[in-house]
Amino acid sequence: MTTILNICAHGFVLGPILVVLVCNLFSRDFARRHFIWFAGVGALWQLFSAIAGYVAMRSAEYNVFDFAVLWNKDAPGAAYFELTPQKFLFLFVIGLVAFISVLIAHRTIDFNRSSYTNLLMIIILGMNGMLIVSDLFSLYVFMEITGICCFVMIAMFRSRADLEGSFKYLVMSELASIFILSGLAFIFMKTGSLRYADLSGFTPDGLGGLENVLMQFALVLLISGFALKTGAVPFHSWLPDAHQSADTSVSVLLSGVVIKVAGIYGVLTIATLFNDLRPIRASLAVLGLLSIVVGALLAYRQNHFKRVVAYSSVSQMGYILLGISTGTPLGIIGALAHVFSHAAFKSTFFANAAALHEQVGTLEMDEMGGLEKQMPITSFSSVIAFLSTAGIPPTAGFWSKLLILLALWSSGQHVLAGAALLASIFTGTYLLRMQKKVFFGKPRPELADVKEIKGTICAAEIILTILTLGVGLCYPFILLYLRAHGLI
């Protein structure tokens, strides 16, 4: 089992690099024509490595698995990578969303296909790196790589006029980097180390008044930086523009996984390392509630399909932040469960967007309507994604939101729990409006020739719908499993 775990662990670093190298060994034309195989194998490798690695880790009864790639991790002071069960969830989500992105890209991307493969693999490497490092500075390094890849991916398919979204993303991303780097510098100045192992035992007790203020300021900078990457309110302005500008295969990556790994995972790491500092939890709760309410209100005002979905992401990130803000195991599990649920239902919405764009030719909701009968698979998958987003049973989103609300209630934050519950009504409202405008109502005569999409996008919709419903139905067993292991 340890051998399997070792192969999977090394694969998270070497796999994407290998795919890039192999893809570029062939002629550009060959790599362009067969890009789905290269990118698909890379994404599936990630997906199955995450599953196999988790099973192997549980079987070998490891709680933490340390490893190094091409160097000796046992040398004094040597750097190492580490894997924990919760990291496998993020790694799985990366694989899943990357695979869905490849399926969508097969229909939506006409040129720069080999570059898409290369960038997808590098972005996977960047996110894997963020997850497996054991040092805050290395996390920053890999976060930068992820950010640069995103910028290029947003810009690569569009004309010069549409570069505004990618430029906005670059500016906000670099602003986040400045915040995070400054915060790390302050922490390094006070603690002398940025390793998780050294920081996890850190308490502000020994610090003087001014030093304590400096430490708090450093944490504010870090939380702000990661919140910017998450797209939480009031740092959300880049997210809708970036989503709208990008090709749908890139939007699905951005919303489905990048904001979670580059943002939520960073917040989670800081909250776990500095759990003793109460202001962190309070600020996360404020950011979370603001994101839920403002994101939902802004989503209601949009008429572009992808902008509604983007603002919905802002709102849903709020629930995850609320879960983390409790600081309890139940809250963290709820947040992680919502990371998965959100990846599934948000990817479904983007697959729907790709289908609508391909078949209808627009994503302006005012120009659509009554597509339910013409596009039954897209319509059904969209309804399931809507139910999951709104937290209605038996979908995966219901259970993850329930866990977050229970965590808030049991940690004594009754007002926040009530507010989050009320805000989910907003979620239902704006998504219901979206469904009504696009799929229901009176069919438009000019859209009479529209037919259901076939091929890989349709496959993506079906896979994600099965996943959302299947995981939702299996949740009682998952909860029993977690309870048996003493996690809840």
């Binding site: 990578f81 040129f111 490497l125 790196g129 390094v141 290029v152 010069r160």
Partner: protein, 165 residues
Amino acid sequence: MHIIVYLCAGLMLVCGVYAVMSRSILRSAIGLAFSSAALSVLLYAMNAPWASVLELSVCSGLVTVIFISGISLSHSPKMEIQREYQDYERSRHLPMLLIIIGVLLAALAIGLGDDEPQAAVSTALSFKEVFWNTRQADIWGQIAAILCGGVAVAVLFREERQEKK
């Protein structure tokens, strides 16, 4: 010694702002190179010689060469960006802000005396040990960064060639 530190900090700031505000991409790249060079001196003055050498050779040297090569290869978009940029009204208050920051830095330099700046965290490890042992995870990051940079340049230039056709 403090005077050098604050002088370099001020120079870095001015060059950085010039790089952002300049109407010519070429001048922006040169401004950035000067900003990096000032940072190198700053790092050396603050007892970080290895960081200073890397900053000078990579950021001030190599990156500037890449930028200037890129600019010379993409003559047409450079002109276009310059024209687009002229449409925006530049901040008239920026020089005033820079002067205020410069005065503050100078006041700090005089007020803090002439002590030798000390590194906030001292380490007994050599550069070799730090680079090849304690920061090995970042080497994979560097590999990813090089791959990403290469693909990014290829993508953006390829798109440019298509537009020209």
